[in-house]
Amino acid sequence: MSTLTEAPPPLAPAPEKKPPRRRGRLTPYWLLLPGILWLLIFFALPMIYQASTSVQTGSLEEGYEVTWHFATYWNALSEYWPQFLRSVLYAGSATVLCLLLGYPLAYLIAFRAGRWRNLIMILVIAPFFTSFLIRTLAWKTILADGSPVVGALNTLHILDVTSWLGITAGDRVLATPLAVVCGLTYNFLPFMILPLYTSLERIDGRLHEAAGDLYAKPWTTFRKVTFPLSMPGVVSGTLLTFIPAAGDYVNADLLGSTDTRMIGNVIQSQFLRILDYPTAAALSFILMFAILIMVTLYIRKSGTEDLV
C-alpha cells in the first residue's frame, strides 16, 4: 500500500475566527487524497484497461492490439442477449422477493421488536459470518433431489404449479430458475433489510399517532405515511439487491444449470475459460451501462431525490 504512505500531514488545529490561511483551505483536499488515489488505482485504471481491452482484436498467441473494433460489442450483445435478459429477470424477481420478505421483517424490527430488536438484527446479519460460497452450497443441499424441502413441496403439489409456470422441472428444484432466484433472494436479503430498517427506524412514532388521530386506519396510515417515508430505504434496498444480483454468477453456477446461465456466468467463462478477453470486457461494459440506465430511470420514477 505505497499509496497510503502519502497520507496528508496532520491537521493543524484550525483557527476559528481568523481568516483562513491557504493551507487551511487546502486541508479538505489533502484529506480526500488517499481516497482519490485509491479510486484511481483500483477503479479508474482497471476501467480504462478493460475499456481498451474491449476494443482490441487479436489472439492469445499473437497478442492483442487496439483496433477500435466496436463490433465486439454488437457481436457480444447479439449472441448473449438471452443471458442479459435472464439476468435482469432473475435479479428483478429476487429483488421483488427480497422486498416482500424484507419489508415486514424490517417493519417488525423497527416498530414492534422492543427488546428483541438487537437479537433479530444479529440474526439478520449472522449469515454474513459464513462465506458466501458456503451459504450457497448449503442451499444446494436444501434443494437437493429428494431432500425434505423438495419432498414437502412435491407432496403439497406446489411443484406442479411451479413446473407449469416453467420455473421448476418435474420433481426437481435444483438446477432450475426457481433455485437460482431462491439463492439470489437469500444471499441479498440482508442488503434489503438493513436500509429498510434504517429508514423505517428514523420515522417519528408520533407521525403514526398523528395519522391515527386524523382518521387514518392502520392500513391507511401505512399506505399514506409509513410507506412514503420509507421510500429512501426501499430505493437503496432495491438498488443494493438488484445491482449485485444482476452481475452475480455464483448462484447460477451452483444452483442452476446451463439453461439458467446469467450474464455473470458468461463473463466469467469468457475471462477465465475461453480467454476471449475483448468479448468479456465488452459484456462487462454492456452490463454496467444497462444497470446505470435502469437505475437512473428507477430513481427518476420513484422521485426520491428530495426525500433523502
Binding site: 417519528d204 408520533r206 407521525l207 399517532e209 398523528a210 395519522a211 391515527g212 388521530d213 386524523l214 382518521y215 387514518a216 386506519k217 391507511t220 399514506k224 405515511v225 412514503p228 417515508l229 426525500l307
Partner: protein, 381 residues
C-alpha cells in the same frame, strides 16, 4: 357556553393509568364543558399528558370511562374518535406539503372537494401563501399554526393540545397564546390544553386543573386558583406564596384568629381549607404582592384590622415595575414582598426594621400536614 349543547363535553369517570407498578394517573373524575378552554397544568411527569392521550385514544386507560358528550368512547381507536390533537413538536407529515397536511383528515374521511375548506383554514391561520411548501421550510411558529389548522379543519368536538407552544421562544409563545385564544373563541370548540407553564394556563384557559403526581390538586378559574389555593402545591406552583406556620387560637364570627410566634393573624374561615379546631396547625398563606411594607418608625400609621408581622429586610432587588424584598421575621424566615414602585421609601434598604401588613381577606389557610415546599422551584430542581 350559553347553549345547552353538551355534545362537546368531555367526561372522564374514574379514569386511571398504570405502567407496571408506576401509577401515572390515579382514578380521576373530570368534566370539561362544551365550548370551554380547559388547561391541565402541572410539572413534567404529573400525568397531564397521559390524561390527554387517554382522551385522544392514544393511550388505553387501565380503568375508567371516557365520554364525549353522551357517547362512551373508551373502546374506540383514535381514528374513530371525533377528537383531534395538536402534538408536541407538531408531528407534521414531512413528505406532504402544507396543503396536503391540512387536507389529510378530510381526505381520510372521504371528503371529495377539499380545496375550498383547506384554503379557508390556511387563511384563518395566515398561511395561505405557504400552501405548497414542505413543513421543514417553515419556521417553528408557522409549523405550529399548520398543526392547529390540520386538527381544526376536521371540526372535532374537542381539540387536544399537548404542550403546543413548548418549542417556541417567549415572544412568539405570547403571541400564539393570544392567537389560540382568538381561534378558540371564533370556532367555539372545546379546547383541552396541556402545559407546564402556569402563566400560559392562566392567560388562556377558562378553567385550570392543577395536576400533581397523577392527581388533580385543584380545579377552578385561574383567579380563583391563584387567590384561594387549597393545597401547598397549588399555592407554590401558581406564582409565589408566603406560608406561615400558625396555630388556631379562637374563632370570632366568620374569622379565625391564629397564633403565629408572638402575634395574631386573622383569616376568613371560608378561605381556610384546613381543620379549624382550636390548637390545630394551619399554614397561613399570603401572596407577596398583597403585602404592604412600612418602616418600623411608621408602624403607627397602619390601619386597624390588618394582619401584621415585624421583620428585617434581608434583601431588596429592584426590577423596574416593582421591588422584591426578602424579609426575615421571627415568625417566618424569607418572606417575599413585592412592592410597586410608586413612591419609594428610601429607608427600606437591607437591614432596616419593617412591619408587613395585609388585609385578612387576602389570607388563605392550608392544612399544615402537607409539605410546605411542594410545587416550589427548589423542590423541582
Amino acid at each position: 357556553m350559553t347553549t345547552k349543547d353538551s355534545s362537546g363535553d368531555v367526561r372522564l369517570s374514574g379514569i386511571s393509568k398504570t405502567y407496571g407498578s408506576f401509577t401515572a394517573v390515579h382514578p380521576l373524575d373530570l368534566t370539561v364543558p362544551q365550548g370551554s378552554f380547559f388547561a391541565l397544568l402541572g410539572a413534567s411527569g404529573c400525568g397531564k399528558t397521559t390524561t390527554l392521550r387517554m382522551i385522544a385514544g392514544l393511550e388505553e386507560p387501565t380503568s375508567g370511562t371516557v365520554f364525549l358528550g353522551d357517547q362512551d368512547v373508551t373502546a374506540l381507536p383514535p381514528y374513530k374518535r371525533p377528537v383531534n390533537t395538536v402534538f408536541q413538536s407538531y408531528a407534521l407529515f414531512p413528505h406532504l406539503d402544507i396543503f396536503e397536511n391540512v387536507a389529510f383528515g378530510l381526505r381520510r374521511r372521504g371528503v371529495k372537494s377539499v380545496k375550498k375548506q383547506v384554503e379557508e383554514m390556511l387563511d384563518l391561520v395566515q398561511l395561505g401563501e405557504q400552501a405548497r411548501k414542505k413543513p421543514h421550510q417553515l419556521s417553528g411558529g408557522q409549523q405550529q399554526r399548520v398543526a392547529v389548522a390540520r386538527a381544526l379543519i376536521n371540526h372535532p368536538k374537542v381539540l387536544l393540545l399537548d404542550e403546543p407552544l413548548g418549542a417556541l421562544d417567549l415572544k412568539l409563545r405570547r403571541q400564539m397564546q393570544l392567537e389560540l385564544k382568538r381561534i378558540q373563541t371564533e370556532v367555539g370548540i372545546t379546547f383541552v390544553h396541556v402545559t407546564h407553564d402556569q402563566e400560559e394556563a392562566m392567560t388562556m384557559a377558562d378553567t385550570v386543573a392543577v395536576m400533581n403526581a397523577g392527581r388533580v390538586e385543584q380545579l377552578g378559574a385561574p383567579d380563583e386558583l391563584y387567590e384561594n389555593p387549597r393545597t401547598t402545591f397549588v399555592a407554590n406552583f401558581l406564582g409565589t406564596s408566603n406560608l406561615i406556620e400558625a396555630e388556631v387560637d379562637t374563632k370570632a364570627g366568620d374569622d379565625i384568629v391564629l397564633k403565629a410566634g408572638g402575634g395574631k393573624l386573622t383569616l376568613p374561615s371560608e378561605r381556610c381549607s384546613a381543620s379549624t379546631a382550636t390548637g390545630g396547625k394551619v399554614l397561613v398563606g399570603v401572596r407577596p404582592e398583597k403585602i404592604s411594607l412600612v418602616h418600623a418608625d411608621d408602624a403607627g400609621e397602619i390601619p386597624d384590622g390588618r394582619n401584621r408581622i415585624t421583620g428585617t429586610i434581608a434583601d431588596a432587588s429592584f426590577i423596574g415595575v416593582s421591588t422584591q424584598y426578602v424579609i426575615d421575621s421571627p415568625i417566618c424566615p424569607e418572606l417575599a414582598v413585592y412592592v410597586q414602585n410608586v413612591e419609594r421609601d428610601g429607608r427600606l434598604t437591607p437591614g432596616a426594621d419593617v412591619v408587613l401588613h395585609w388585609s385578612p381577606a387576602h389570607t388563605f389557610g392550608l392544612d399544615a400536614a402537607q409539605d410546605i415546599d411542594a410545587g416550589t422551584e427548589e423542590e423541582a430542581a
